[in-house]
């Protein structure tokens, strides 16, 4: 049985441990710290936690002001509100002056705990990625969340940290070396490359297992940093197999799939399939039903990979 950790639990503990080490770390919230587990930081360091109420724009501006005073400020809301309700505040008060603010987006993707399309974030990577100076990090599991929290606090510029709500499979072990901007090769393979971000890495590992049983070997690259994208790693992974599937819990427009297509289109054109939300809004429903309906399961990743492999085989026929 795979170990499961909720990113938010890892996040809360990581913030506390970070706060112990680094007294320049401060946190601002828009009344969702108990959801994201930032409240663990609030309890440990009440003087460094600022509750701004249900006012995300002000929260974001206050974080910019704290950053301008030499602090590293973490904001907190659901991913959709943290990035979209506040896009102009992030753009003008944080990204343009390159201030060290970590935009903390909890509950990204479709899994917002039966909250529906208003609370699901499927556009956040695209919007944050389009902001100059912005770094976009979407950890794949609880272990990576912890490593990412420490890394982004030392980064010295604006970062969007994208997380999810519910327990997800642990993919990485504590020993692995996390570096912002460096992709992680999870599994070597030869037939088809799968590139993931966020918790899709766990589903991709499962998909690789399904495909292995069919004799299809998956080369799995995990991109926790969607921007700056590790272009050499993406190109090398595409060259390894000549076929690429991207997988993200995000709209297929503008996110990881878009980023990978931009790089490969210019440097190494490669047949691709993008697994993600097909440019539609979600709905409120149990997690498994959502993932099934919107095409985000291991089975969907496997199907996309299989179809590419089969198409290549068909073309190879004399």
């Amino acid at each position: 049985m795979t170990e499961m950790i909720a990113m938010r639990d890892a996040y809360g503990q990581a913030l506390v441990d970070l706060g112990e080490q680094n007294e320049r770390v401060v946190a601002v919230d828009a009344d969702l710290a108990s959801s994201s587990k930032m409240n663990m930081f609030a309890e440990a360091f009440p003087e460094r936690f600022f509750q701004m109420g249900i006012a995300e724009q002000n929260m974001t501006g206050v974080a910019a002001g704290l950053a301008a005073m030499g602090f590293v400020a973490f904001t907190n809301s659901f991913a959709c509100f943290a990035t979209l309700r506040t896009t102009d505040q992030i753009r003008v008060s944080i990204a343009q002056p390159s201030l060290p603010v970590v935009i903390g987006g909890a509950y990204s993707g479709l899994l917002g705990g039966k909250t529906g399309k208003t609370h699901q974030a499927i556009e956040d990577i695209a919007v944050m990625r389009a902001l100059p100076h912005m770094t976009v990090v979407a950890p794949g599991d609880g272990v990576e969340v912890r490593k990412a929290v420490f890394a982004v606090a030392d980064y010295g510029g604006p970062v969007y940290l994208r997380m999810t709500r519910d327990p997800s499979p642990v993919v990485f072990d504590e020993s692995y070396d996390f570096k912002i901007g460096r992709a992680v090769l999870v599994r070597e393979g030869s037939d088809v490359t799968v590139i993931t971000t966020g918790l899709m890495v766990g589903r991709a590992v499962e998909a690789a297992g399904l495909l292995a049983a069919e004799g299809i070997s998956v080369h799995l690259l995990h991109v926790h940093t969607v921007k700056p994208l590790d272009e050499p790693a993406v190109v090398a992974a595409a060259e390894k197999t000549g076929l690429v599937v991207t997988a993200e819990e995000h709209n297929i427009i503008g996110g990881l799939g878009g980023a990978v297509a931009e790089v490969l289109g210019e440097q190494r054109p490669t047949p691709m399939r993008r697994v993600g939300v097909a440019d539609v809004y979600g709905e409120s429903a149990p997690n498994d039903d959502l993932l099934q309906k919107y095409g985000l399961t291991a089975g969907h990743i496997a199907e996309a990979a299989r179809s590419l492999v089969e198409r290549r085989a068909a073309h190879a026929q004399p």
């Binding site: 724009q57 206050v62 910019a64 301008a68 008060s93």
Partner: protein, 278 residues
């Protein structure tokens, strides 16, 4: 005791800033004259009397901070910074030019600019963040944020007002350049924001109202704000848009319009005449 020399000097500086604004905007053939001219005394009071700053060490951690939330008044901000010695006055000639530190709206890369601005409604939140940061670092300094009256239509201003009252940041001072006019016309016609003072009072702020063209009165209000323990202060500065240049006064036509050479000469003549008359 009234310091006549200081008052005289502030009036002189305000007038000089107006002249620099007109010259800068004429050279650029772009920018916002009306809201720059209305804020001349506010900037003069802050940069030449109130704020503890060191132009030789613009990043001194213990300094007072300034945010021009109504970022389109950048020309008068740059004039004040140049006049105060943050950079040579010749640099004003680069305003709006490629690679210049003097962008159309203030950018933090410019010496003396503590926060980038330009998208209205954001400065007070940032100022609150700075005020909280000062408290956390035990820095005995203040944050001054200048807003426009039209800018008060932005909801974020009131989010920040609510939060500043909650945190009791008495080291935060907002100054509203209440010139009554915005881009398309009278603020009261576009979107009424009166009664402004009552709104801030309702948000639990300490409120002062002053003649915004009386620099010593602004200085006095800033001094009084220091005694308002546990509450942020807003100074409602009643001003005239385009103040000092007759044909620019009290009209939205000069909110954003290029100053021709002829009009520049006319404006500069008026400004120097007024200076002599005083």
């Amino acid at each position: 005791m009234v310091d006549l020399d200081r008052n005289e000097r502030l009036a002189e500086v305000s007038n000089e800033l107006r002249g620099m604004v007109v010259e800068t905007l004429c050279r650029a053939q772009a920018g916002h004259p009306g809201g720059s001219l209305s804020a001349a005394e506010i900037l003069a009071a802050l940069f030449f009397s109130v704020m503890r700053i060191d132009p030789q060490d613009p990043d001194w951690e213990g300094r007072d901070r300034f945010i021009l939330s109504k970022g389109h008044a950048a020309p008068v901000y740059y004039a004040a910074l140049a006049r105060r010695g943050y950079f040579p006055a010749e640099m004003l000639q680069t305003y709006d030019e490629l690679d210049s530190l003097l962008q159309a709206h203030p950018d933090m890369h410019c010496p003396g600019v503590d926060m980038s601005s330009g998208s209205l409604g954001q400065g007070l939140s940032v100022g609150l963040g700075m005020a909280l940061g000062m408290r956390l670092k035990a820095i005995d300094a203040r944050v001054f944020v200048v807003l426009g009256d039209g800018e008060l239509q932005e909801g974020q201003v009131w989010e920040a007002a609510m939060a500043a009252a909650k945190f009791g940041t008495d080291n935060l001072v907002a100054i509203v350049d209440d010139n009554r006019i915005q881009l398309m016309g009278d603020t009261q016609a576009i979107m009424p924001i009166d009664p402004i003072a009552e709104k801030w009072r309702a948000f639990n702020w300490n409120v002062f109202e002053v003649d915004g063209h009386d620099a010593p009165a602004i200085v006095a209000a800033c001094a009084a704000a220091e005694r308002a323990e546990g509450r942020p202060t807003v100074i409602l500065a009643h001003t005239i848009k385009g103040k000092g240049v007759s044909f620019m006064e009290d009209t939205h036509e000069w909110h954003c319009a290029p100053v021709t050479e002829d009009l520049k000469e006319k404006a500069l003549t008026e400004l120097s005449v007024r200076e002599v008359r005083r």
